[in-house]
Amino acid sequence: MRSSPRLTALTVAVVCIGLVVAQDVVPLVDFFHTWQYATALALGVVVMLGYLNGALRGQDGMVGRRLALALAGAVVATVTGIVSGLLGPDTQTVRHAPGSVAPIPDLHAAAFFTSADAATIANGTAHVILRRPNHADVEIGPNDRKFLGASVLLVEPSHAAFIEARDAAGNRLTITQPTNAAFLSPVLLFPNEQEIAGKRLPFDTFAVPALQRIVKAVLLPASMTTTLRVRPEDAGKPALLYAVDDEHNTSLGLTIDPDGREVFVAGLRLRATIGSYPTLVVASAPEPFALSAGVGLFIAGLLWAGIGLFCAGALPLRNPSGS
């Protein structure tokens, strides 16, 4: 054993630890759940175990014995990464209506999507609360990241619009979403897409049963409204394109409703507040205790070997003692 195997093993250890820690840093990358990722880590383990085996037999001298601790730590961390990447649950994206509850079986938990009014949607300040039996609630807000055992939970903002419907006299009207799971929600989450003018645009559908109206709402991004016929002060705001039908699917009108403005179409006064609502993402992450222990051992082993080299006055790596 000379410097080359030692350097190779250390380089592999650093790369493997980097790949495992990356699961915590960018947990939504699908690569972590592929066989290629697991194979790369498994090969890294082989290289490290190969060096470890020789080092424990004294083939790399005193430094090698001390580095064995670091390599053992790296192996622990890498195996943790293989386990979470390969055997951990697939990334789960949970998009639910405000006020509803979604079971998260992998965590034995339920996610409560907090209620949202127009201001909450506009500001994107809604959050998700995770409840588990005999545990404190975990609140996950916009751009938050929480670790829960071998899972990482993120909240990502998704398109949403709060719709208010009134009749011609100004009386508030019930909004329903017969085609969506949240029947009585005035918050559109735009689960569908359609192509308009060469762009894939999100759309949703709602009904106003009191007036027998069915409304398709296509979300137009701010960049599109600059080229549309809207008031100058509304140009550059996101907007909804409404297509209103009656109960017999007869088209009654089309109009564009810029964010925050009330429009009148087919006997309806509609106002959309456009913003965002959280989507909960649950991804697997390396078990934090095992990963910390592995990385800790790796650093401790490196320091120990470094001290040994320093004390022996043999800092150049190609001069191992006892070999």
Binding site: W35, V45, T91, Q92, L184, P186
Partner: protein, 178 residues
């Protein structure tokens, strides 16, 4: 030599597991629904909303009583048809600690008030303009009726119109539990 063979065997085993692991793509849950039945046993959520007279009210104000919470709207024919039965239930069981709570979904207070008055409804009517109760109680249609026990937990969730006999049957377990 033995150690090298053991390591090689371990690596082969890992690779075999990797090769045959049944991978799956990311899962997207956009709300599977399930209706009000799935909420039985859960704590009943409460939101402050206004009554038709403008005072603030909410489900949690009725803790300690059995609540028959009926989600309704004036445009909904089955809701209108079951209102007389709800009124009878309210009068019949009020003295036994049962309250009927009509929660109008998304309509103007004066519309709900006018309807309730015209049809002799005396039980409390709440106006849920933002439809928070409808969302929280997983309503898949109107009317939706939720029975909440004295302990504030959901005893029953029912989708659709009920007769007086069905209402009596629905509250019976909660009455027996006192």
């Amino acid at each position: 030599m033995r150690t090298v063979l053991a390591v090689a065997a371990a690596v082969v085993a890992v690779l075999v597991v990797i090769a045959f692991y049944p991978g799956g793509g990311p899962k997207l849950d956009v709300g599977a629904g399930g209706g009000p039945r799935m909420l039985v046993g859960a704590p009943a959520q409460s939101f402050p909303v206004k009554r038709v007279d403008g005072t603030v009210d909410g489900l949690d104000h009725y803790r300690g009583r059995i609540v028959v919470m009926n989600l309704w709207a004036t445009w909904c024919p089955p809701c209108r048809e079951e209102m007389p039965a709800l009124e009878r239930l309210y009068r019949e069981y009020r003295s036994r600690g049962v309250v009927v709570l009509g929660v109008d979904q998304g309509e103007a207070p004066r519309v709900a008030q006018a309807y309730a008055r015209a049809h002799g409804v005396t039980y409390p009517i709440l106006i849920d303009e933002d439809q928070q109760y409808g969302r929280a109680y997983a309503a898949v249609g109107l009317p939706t009726t939720i029975i909440v026990g004295r302990d504030g937990h959901i005893v029953k969730g029912i989708d659709g119109e009920l007769t007086l006999a069905q209402m009596r049957e629905a509250i019976a377990p909660a009455l027996r539990a006192q």
